[in-house]
């Protein structure tokens, strides 16, 4: 059995070759466009000529004139981070530490806002709370109020919509920190004679604080790169943040690519710094509560307060999911959006347009096709990636993790801009086609898919695979007969999550759509720009329906495998 097929130490194995190929391919996908963007941001010559004829830092110096844009971005991000972490902390504490009726149900419901995209949320809230025409303001007028009750076209409006969306992210992160705290730490304080509140202040809070701060930094980084809410709610009131400034620079005539690039690279630098801070916080030992071990937290009986907290969590889900969806639903069936039902004219015209009007129908089918395609082709590649990152010993496997997770640190808008600029200037004619879109989706969704699969790979006992090798199986045979069958629940989850993320993708798509390559989220934007909130509502609902159908399949599948995928 031991034969001449022994390989010398220095010759690369099949794993080594695959590792190298992946490094080159993914590295190219991720890094290459960014190099183009950096080059363009330093272009002080003719803005449309590439490669630039003159280099300089002029575009960055000009950003000083845009100080109000930077200030706006910081203000909105801070405001919504505070709101999102507040929502997340209260909900996490309520759901992990108190005795509540229907806790498991509520916990599932709390995940829903994440699947409402900021775009859908922003559209719905502009229907609900736009000055004069918003449903809430209409009702206010009917009730005899004067002026507007609320105005969503404001920095507070943007922060509000983003906080509703990010609140669930903060919730998931903070409750993870709370769940991993050993209840013995609190119990020993109780035994030593400390009261409920004293324990809370002296033990619980200090232990959970790093988790809360981590969530805040992470959410803040996400806010910096968010586009949809600022676009829908900020532009009517001429409130511009960095992402919308980039958009305006590209859309202006002639397009100001150097300015857009400089803005994009700056945003990327800030986001990278913020995420590095987050990583440093997570890495440093002060995450004493995170031991990787899950504890069953001790819950407290709260009396009548339990009902108040319960109502609070439910109100969040209603405000973040059901209220916006109802507003969209009502609007999508009307000729003119109104909440005064006596004046309303019900119609199916919007859906007819959505399904029959060529461009819109094309966008819908393209989005579904891309979702299925990217998930089906991408997830198998991600499986191999994850395996190499977490199981392989070939040199370079650590580097792959960095490359693969890198897109997370690049704001979607900036990455879309970089891709557009790179592929406009490469003589391979795939710009404006679905192929480039697929490649882009695969790249930006790498972190999502890899993270989902990694959770499952790490749960698989290493010796299950080693045993296959010792039994005589080659790497490929082992992957096929042992690893992939054991990974199946993770693969299903990753497929569905990648599908969902593809269908709702906006930041990258908006720069890559072309006359022959339309997808749904940018179509919603353009229909909204042509001031048809009714058609936009119908489109947003169709998109949300696709996402929720995939989500239901996901829940059922994960329940069947009884593993915790999410």
């Amino acid at each position: 059995m031991v034969g001449g097929s022994a390989r010398p130490i220095w010759r690369p194995s099949s794993q080594g070759i695959v590792t190298l190929a992946i490094l080159v391919f993914c590295g190219g996908l991720v890094i290459y466009p960014l190099i183009y963007l950096v080059a363009e941001s330093l272009n002080t010559g003719e803005p449309d000529v590439f490669p630039p004829t003159e280099y300089g830092t002029g575009n960055y110096v000009d950003l000083i004139d845009d100080w109000h844009v930077l200030a706006n971005t910081g203000f909105v991000a801070c405001l919504s981070t505070v709101m999102a972490v507040g929502i997340g902390f209260l909900a996490a504490w309520t759901l992990t530490r108190t005795k509540l009726p229907g806790r498991a149900w509520l916990e599932r419901l709390m995940e829903l806002p994440y699947y409402m995209t900021p775009l859908v949320g922003a559209l719905a809230w502009s229907i609900l709370a736009a000055p004069r025409t918003g449903f809430l303001n209409q009702l206010w007028h009917v009730a005899g109020g004067s002026g507007d009750l609320v105005n969503i076209y404001s920095p507070f409006g943007i922060a509000w919509v983003m906080a509703l969306f990010e609140g669930t992210v903060a919730f998931v992160m903070i409750s993870a920190a709370m769940k991993s705290m050993d209840p013995a730490l609190e119990e020993s304080a109780r035994v030593l004679g400390a009261g409920k509140w004293r324990v809370m202040l002296t033990v619980t809070l200090p232990l959970v604080l790093p988790g809360v701060l981590g969530a805040a930094v992470f959410v803040f980084a996400e806010m910096l790169g968010s586009f949809a809410a600022a676009f829908v709610l900020g532009l009517p009131g001429r409130f511009v943040v960095i992402t919308t400034a980039i958009w305006q620079a590209v859309q202006s005539y002639p397009p100001d690519y150097p300015r857009a690039s400089a803005l994009g690279i700056s945003l990327f630098a800030v986001m990278l710094a913020t995420l590095s801070l987050y990583r440093a916080m997570v890495r440093r030992g002060n995450f004493a509560t995170i031991t990787g071990k899950a504890f069953r937290p001790r819950t407290m009986a709260m009396g009548y307060m339990a009902w108040v907290l319960f109502a609070g969590c439910l109100a969040y889900v209603i405000v973040a999911v059901f209220l916006p969806l109802s507003a969209l639903l009502l609007t999508s069936f009307q000729r003119f959006a109104t909440v005064i039902l006596s004046q309303s004219e019900l119609t199916l015209a919007n859906y007819e347009t959505a399904f029959s009007f060529g461009a819109v129908r094309q966008a819908l089918t393209n989005s579904l096709m891309l979702g299925v395609g990217v998930a089906s082709v991408g997830v198998p590649i991600m499986v191999v990636l994850v395996w190499i990152i977490y199981r392989s010993k070939s040199p370079g496997h650590g580097l792959i993790e960095y490359v693969v997770m890198f897109p997370q640190a690049v704001p979607r808008m900036v990455f879309g801009l970089a891709l557009m600029w790179a592929w406009l200037n490469i003589p391979i004619p795939i710009y404006g086609t679905l192929w480039l879109m697929a490649l882009a989706y695969f790249t930006v969704l790498l972190p999502l898919g890899v993270r989902t699969l990694a959770g499952v790979v790490m749960q698989i006992d290493k010796s299950l695979e080693e045993c296959a090798r010792v039994c005589g199986a080659s790497w490929g045979y082992q992957l096929r007969t042992v690893t992939i069958p054991l990974l199946r629940p993770g693969i299903v989850a990753a497929w569905l999550l990648v599908f969902i993320a593809s269908v709702r993708e906006l930041g990258v798509s908006i720069f890559l759509v072309g006359p022959n390559a339309k997808v749904i989220a940018p179509s919603i934007i353009s229909s909204w720009l042509s001031s048809s909130s009714e058609l936009s509502a119908a489109l947003a609902l169709i998109q949300t329906a696709a996402v929720f159908i995939a989500l239901i399949v996901l829940f059922r599948a994960t329940r069947r495998y009884s593993g915790e995928m999410l």
């Binding site: 194995s13 006992d461 080693e466 090798r469 010792v470 039994c471 005589g472 199986a473 045979y477 042992v482």
Partner: protein, 363 residues
């Protein structure tokens, strides 16, 4: 072709800069059952995994069945799947997505044997571990002991010449562990397969091995038959880790330079008659006396070589034995006697032990 099935020489395995195994050499002969014994972190599992091809060594050589599978000098490293060894893992590593029969058939399928031969071998292997009735059961539904048997059947199904065991019994409860120990020894004898076994349980190591390799901090402390290891420990570590022993410090009296009886001067003016398994160099500072080898009696013992008076300080009843702490001129001694030999705390006794049980330690 040499007689040895496994030959390890100067094996070094590093994790980063830290050597986990540091220059280990030993051989396992055809049909022999050798155990690597040591505390956690001593490098025993790493050695085993290096032999299986699951860790890449950074020095030395490994030969299996006369073929070099790893050698730094020859720059050879045969991958795990081409080494032809078999292994039983600590966690059993029974694949939960396959039936019992498919688990056992895996190594045979990899080797592309004909269908009827696979079926016959699976049946034979499952028969040997008394799991024939479970062949079609899903492996996810088995108890710990049953998984253990399936892992064993899978390991022997393709008739490997070398079988590696990585603490296979450590996840079983105490009672089952003792039963499986007997069965494993029986099976190993019947198949005549060469096996290398890793455990931190000294009782297990002594009970089932032909030879034991005691390891500590990446190196070998002592290598010998179980009786050798127990009766003639070479170092403080072995005397302390295997079984229980009293370590008595002092110095060797000059004059002897060959193995055999020596005089050992201990504290309290005691002159002990001791035994050296090696040629004493004069610098030894310690003898070891097993707690089970010390006799206690109420009166004086006539003609016994090491016969010293003392007082019972403490008595601890353990059931299978009684442990006494005895004050004697050189300090305190721990003595284990059968529960039939009862002495009251505070009573004066005479303790005695044979010179060959008072072993001079090399270091």
């Amino acid at each position: 072709m040499s007689e040895a099935r496994i030959e390890i020489s100067d094996l070094v395995v590093r994790y980063g800069d830290v050597p986990a195994v540091n220059g280990v050499s030993f051989t396992v002969a055809q049909g022999e059952h050798v155990t690597l014994l040591g505390p956690s972190g001593c490098g025993k599992t790493t050695t085993l995994r290096a032999i299986a091809g699951l860790e890449e060594p950074s020095g030395g050589s490994i030969r299996i069945d006369g073929t070099t599978v790893y050698s730094l000098a020859e720059r050879r490293n045969v991958p795990a799947e081409k080494r032809g060894v078999s292994m039983v893992f600590q966690s059993y590593a029974v694949w939960p997505h396959m039936s019992v029969a498919n688990n056992v058939a895996y190594g045979l399928r990899v080797r592309k044997l004909p269908k009827d031969e696979i079926a016959a071998n699976v049946d034979r292997a499952l028969g040997l571990v008394q799991m024939r009735d479970f062949a079609d059961r899903s492996a996810a539904l088995l108890s710990g002991g049953q998984q253990q048997r399936v892992a064993l059947a899978r390991a022997i199904a393709f008739s490997p010449t070398v079988l590696l065991f990585d603490e296979p019994l450590s996840n079983l409860d105490a009672k089952l562990r003792v039963e499986m120990r007997v069965e494993l020894r029986e099976l190993q004898r019947r198949l005549g397969v060469t096996s290398l076994y890793v455990t931190h349980d000294q009782e297990e190591a002594l009970a089932i091995s032909d030879r034991v390799v005691v390891m500590n901090v990446g190196g070998i402390e002592q290598l010998g038959t179980p009786e050798d290891i127990y009766n003639r420990p070479k170092t403080r570590f072995v005397a302390d880790f295997v079984g229980s022993a009293n370590l008595i410090t002092g110095s060797v009296r000059n004059g002897t330079a060959s193995p055999g009886p020596v005089q050992f001067d201990a504290a309290g003016g005691l002159a002990l008659k001791a035994w050296a398994a090696h040629a004493p160099h004069g610098g030894e500072t310690c003898v070891a006396v097993r707690t089970a080898y010390i006799d206690l009696s109420a009166g004086a013992v006539k003609g016994a070589p090491n016969s010293i008076t003392g007082t019972i300080r403490q008595r601890l009843f353990h059931g299978d034995f009684i442990q006494y702490i005895v004050d004697w001129p050189a300090g305190q001694l721990t003595v284990r006697r059968p529960p039939t030999e009862l002495f009251e705390e505070g009573s004066a006794i005479t303790l005695s032990f044979a010179p060959e049980h008072c072993v001079l330690l090399e270091g």
